[in-house]
């Protein structure tokens, strides 16, 4: 049963990943990418790692894909189609992909994967404690560093969105309304 579901998910993943890069319509590519990400979430659910699966759905499927759709919808018209790449570019990309795949496959086949006995699912509480622990193996430092990074990104976004100070004679409220 699990094997069966794994193969279904794998087929969905591979087919939609290929469709995503080969589709000529931009928004369709995004949707195929969404299917790929949902398939990965499905695999996390399959190995009983619910927390990561929900993170995958919220952050990637619900967050990043929505932002990508937003940017595509803003710049792209429904009748536009993407250009087909030149043959030389296709060959270079194909070679790069083949090399990447080769590295992955050799790594996977050169290691022995052991079956874990009596595996317990990780609870959210354990993740939270680990994330905030400052003892050995705790993640408090990376956690704080990432939060500082996000804060910097947020301040940067606000500064960019705020724009220049009023100098071209328009009332300030008008500029503010545009920003919203």
């Amino acid at each position: 049963m699990e094997r069966f579901i794994f193969y279904i998910l794998a087929v969905i993943l591979i087919v939609s990943a290929i469709a995503s890069v080969s589709s000529k319509k931009m928004l369709r590519s995004v949707i195929y990418l969404l299917f790929t990400l949902c398939g990965i979430a499905g695999i996390y659910f399959l190995i009983d790692y619910n927390f990561l699966a929900a993170i995958q759905l919220t952050v990637y499927a619900g967050g990043i894909i929505v932002l990508i759709i937003f940017s595509v919808v803003l710049i792209h018209h429904i009748e536009m189609e993407l250009e087909v790449a030149k043959l030389s570019k296709k060959i270079i990309v194909g070679l790069a992909c083949a090399i990447g795949l080769g590295v992955f496959l050799t790594t996977i086949y050169s290691h022995q994967f052991n079956v874990v006995e009596n595996y317990n699912s990780v609870t959210t509480e354990q993740i939270g404690l680990k994330l905030l622990s400052y003892e050995d193996g705790g993640f408090i430092l990376p956690f704080e560093v990432i939060s500082v990074l996000l804060l910097a990104a947020m301040i940067g976004a606000i500064v960019i969105a705020k724009g220049k100070k009023m100098e071209d004679g328009r009332p300030k409220s008008e500029v503010l309304n545009e920003d919203k």
Binding site: M1, E2, I5, K25, L27, R28, I31, L34, C38, A41, G42, F45, L46, D48, N50, F51, A53, A54, I55, L57, T58, A61, G62, G63, I65, V66, I69, F70, V73, I78, E79, S121, T123, T124, E125, N177, K180
Partner: protein, 340 residues
């Protein structure tokens, strides 16, 4: 799809049976929510409302559904057919998936996942993709404007829904819905958490109403300016999917509110504790009270402008919510909760 993976222990027949029962119950329940909305609207506007089909018009929405099923599916030639057809399924599947995790009584729960609330938030963040797709693929400017508004609105208010639920998770210490109800045997969470819990509940109801795109936050399908918004080009059954999803989402928001704030299937003061199957009536009673509250909003407040909508979320609800989490953390830390 993802739901079925986790209950691999059950055999396939059971899974299909449960899925079919849930689908049956909730599509009919969705229809009756539509009827309830029309009756409530009529009541608020001093009219009679539907009263011709069946006693008190009870079969009106059934007749409407039959009409919608039998209608021709029209579409525009210049639409992106694949995405246009995919969009309604996105919306309806994501809202039906959320229904699986609710504990209607102690036993009546399809899927007791250990990250319950987080799963609900994750699923609800996918539904908006369907609306964005539908609006864009219709190749209609009103639909596109409606879809963009919906995206902005849902992304903004999702934060408030999530944070107000996190405030309550501080009290329960677990994300699993069945355990959250277990915690409430010593008092519903809105009583246990008193002031911050009431603030969180108010924020949750405002943000929840906004997330279902209902009035006064129905910028998405503002009839007077956008035609019908993102589903302008849809007809027949595909339109019905959007429509049904909106009502099921309303039910979901009310059901989360019931589970997290009002004790789910627990009866007030434990008066029917000896008869466990009565839980479903308490659950549905509380849920419909919250649904009624949302309908009350709809027929009372005028529609907000887009800038007012975003100001409300980012300048008022979000800072208030963050302060509220700190307040709740302090109360839990100092042990100031009310335990009955």
């Amino acid at each position: 799809m993802i739901l079925s993976i986790n209950i691999v222990e059950n055999d396939i027949f059971n899974m299909l049976l449960i899925a079919a029962i849930y689908l049956g119950i909730f599509s009919v329940a969705g229809l009756f929510l539509v009827l309830l909305e029309r009756k409530v609207a009529a009541w608020f506007q001093l009219r009679l409302g539907p009263n011709r089909v069946g006693p008190w018009g009870l079969l009106q929405t059934m007749a409407d559904a039959l009409k919608l099923v039998s209608k021709e599916l029209t579409g525009t030639i210049k639409a992106d057919k694949f995405l246009y057809n995919l969009a309604p399924y996105f919306v309806i599947i994501s809202s039906l998936m959320a229904l699986a995790v609710f504990p209607f009584t102690q036993e009546f729960q399809a899927f007791d996942i250990n990250i319950g609330i987080f799963f609900l938030i994750a699923i609800s963040s996918i539904g908006v993709i369907g609306i964005l797709l539908g609006g864009w693929a219709s190749n209609n400017k009103f639909a596109l404007i409606g879809a963009m508004r919906s995206g902005v609105q849902t992304i903004s208010y999702e934060l408030s829904v999530g944070l107000s639920l996190v405030t309550m998770v501080l009290l329960t210490g677990t994300l699993q819905l069945s355990e959250i109800i277990e915690v409430q045997k010593s008092g519903w969470l809105i009583v246990q958490g008193h002031i911050p819990a009431i603030i969180a509940f108010m924020i949750y109801m405002i943000a929840g109403t906004a997330e279902t795109n209902r009035a006064p936050f129905d910028m998405v399908e503002a009839e007077s300016e956008l035609g019908a918004g993102f589903h302008t080009e849809y007809s027949g059954m595909k339109f019905a999917y959007f429509f049904l999803a909106e009502f099921i989402n309303m039910f979901i928001i009310a059901a989360i509110g019931t589970t997290v704030f009002f004790g789910g299937w627990l009866s007030p003061f434990g008066i029917t504790e000896s008869i466990p199957w009565l839980g479903i009536f308490w659950f549905l009673g509380k849920t419909f009270a919250l649904v009624f509250l949302m309908m009350w909003f709809r027929w009372t407040f005028p529609r907000l402008r887009v800038d007012q909508l975003l100001t409300l979320e980012w300048k008022y609800l979000l800072p208030l919510n963050l302060l509220n989490i700190v307040l709740m953390a302090l109360i839990v830390w100092l042990g100031l909760t009310i335990q009955i």
